[in-house]
């Protein structure tokens, strides 16, 4: 319950933070809201030389509606994301998934960028970012670069953000008029997802015209269920949705843990994908 001693640097700007990271070397640790890092420090599972605190950098905060996309500063809290009117109307699945993260206290402090950059395989927002083709802006010593979601998540707790870089913002293409739903399946309210399915669906004439599906905790990184997305086009009944969702377990090689073995996870992937899509599409 008492962390190992470390130095602390409160960064006032992205440049400031980058400089502190460079100076701190490989044992420097970046902190967003601290809701993943402080627990690790508390249990002495990590002993950084310096913690660079990004929680007060103004340019990392805020949600901007830029016409075709919504750009969310990496340091924007979950609470701000899930309550933002633009997010709620244009990115319902992100609002839903964010509202399911942890609990109110943690959502007040934890940040979207922090959660995505931490990339816990059980986290609820990475499958949304993947399914919605979000774009990640990352700052480093040589300036900023953009990374597509498909290239961002590289492994458990591994992303495209280098040790000397900072995630600045995440841009989500707006899905106005789309339905969205995040189906979280866990053992108890405080537990991580056994599986979570993010679904966004555009309907046309009572049929699914387009669908985006992302799954969490079915592997080391979030999973895009492309085969389901294709098979869903034209679906209008629950039977058709369920049939298309059978592809959700294709190309999955999930791990086994106390909550779910491989068979059960594959089964849940199919069942919960159908449920998530049905809710997003308003098909019952």
């Amino acid at each position: 319950m008492i962390p190992v001693a470390f130095d602390y640097k409160k960064a006032s700007s992205v440049e400031d933070a980058l400089a502190a990271l460079a100076e701190g070397g490989e044992d420097a640790k970046l902190m967003g809201g601290g809701q993943s890092l402080v627990p690790v420090l508390r249990l002495r599972l990590n002993a950084p030389s310096v913690v660079v605190d990004c929680s007060s950098i103004p340019e990392l905060k805020g949600i901007k509606d830029e016409g075709g996309k919504i750009v969310i500063g990496a340091g924007t809290t979950h609470h701000a994301v899930m309550n933002d009117p633009a997010v709620k109307s244009s990115l319902k699945v992100l609002a839903d998934a964010t509202a399911s993260v942890a609990d109110p206290q943690i959502r007040h402090r934890g940040t979207l960028g922090g959660a995505l950059a931490h990339s816990d395989p059980r986290a609820d927002q990475p499958p949304v970012a993947l399914a919605l083709d979000a774009e990640f802006t990352i700052a480093g010593a040589t300036g900023q670069r953009c990374v597509a979601a498909a290239d961002f998540f590289q492994g458990p707790f591994e992303t495209a953000v280098g040790p000397d870089e900072i995630l600045v913002s995440i841009a989500f293409p707006k899905l106005d008029g789309w339905g969205g739903h995040y189906e979280k399946f866990n053992r108890a309210a405080q537990a991580w997802s056994i599986i979570g399915v993010a679904a966004a669906v555009r309907m046309e004439g009572g049929k699914i015209a387009e669908a985006r599906i992302g799954l969490t905790n079915v592997g080391g990184t979030p999973h895009r269920a492309s085969a389901v997305e294709q098979a869903l086009v034209g679906a209008s009944s629950i039977a058709e949705v369920e049939a298309a969702s059978m592809y959700a377990s294709d190309n999955l090689s999930p791990f086994a843990d106390e909550d779910a073995d491989v068979d059960y996870r594959l089964h849940l992937a199919r069942v919960l994908t159908a449920r998530s899509v049905a809710k997003a599409a308003g098909i019952s």
Binding site: A5, G34, Q35, V38, R42, D103, Q105, R109
Partner: protein, 158 residues
């Protein structure tokens, strides 16, 4: 050591702290504000919940240095020692506590919940308190307490 200035329950403190000091340890050990308690080491129990600049946080999950410049309200500051916040009154009236160890966090979380949603449904209350564990009450009377507090606060407005 880092110099910080924080206001806790109406008193402004200036202290030197080690960066690794958790806010909850700062409150308890450095300031003697022992009303706020520690129940776990994994962010689950919520017993250490306080309001920082008006919103609920787990004080085990924030460094004291990060609270520099903040205004903090603990269970000891939600009402004057002899006074009762409506949430405190409702918890007593509805027997929303037994051993009382989760109570500081439960009361603060309930205050935050009602600030955001003055008329919550039972489901919203349960969801809103998911970051606070109680081992005694089975939550039944805690839910009742929050419903009662909502009535009391609504009544106080009109």
């Amino acid at each position: 050591m880092q110099h910080i200035k924080v206001t806790v329950d109406g008193t402004t403190y200036q202290k030197e702290v080690e960066p690794r000091t958790l806010l909850v340890h700062f409150l308890r050990e450095d300031l003697g504000r022992v009303g706020t308690v520690v129940g776990c080491d994994t962010s689950n129990c919520g017993a250490c919940t306080v309001l920082v600049d008006g919103v609920s946080l787990k004080s085990c999950s924030m460094l004291a240095v990060q609270a520099d410049g903040s205004e903090i309200t603990t269970i000891q500051g939600v009402s004057d020692g002899n006074d009762w916040h409506p949430v405190q009154s409702a918890f007593k009236e509805c027997h929303g506590l037994q051993c009382g160890y989760c109570t500081p966090g439960m009361v603060i979380s309930s205050i935050d919940l009602l600030n955001e949603n003055p008329n919550p449904t039972e489901a919203e209350i349960r969801e809103g308190l998911e970051g606070n564990l109680c081992r005694c009450t089975g939550y039944h009377n805690i839910v009742k307490s929050v419903q009662r507090a909502a009535e009391l606060m609504e009544g106080a407005k009109s």
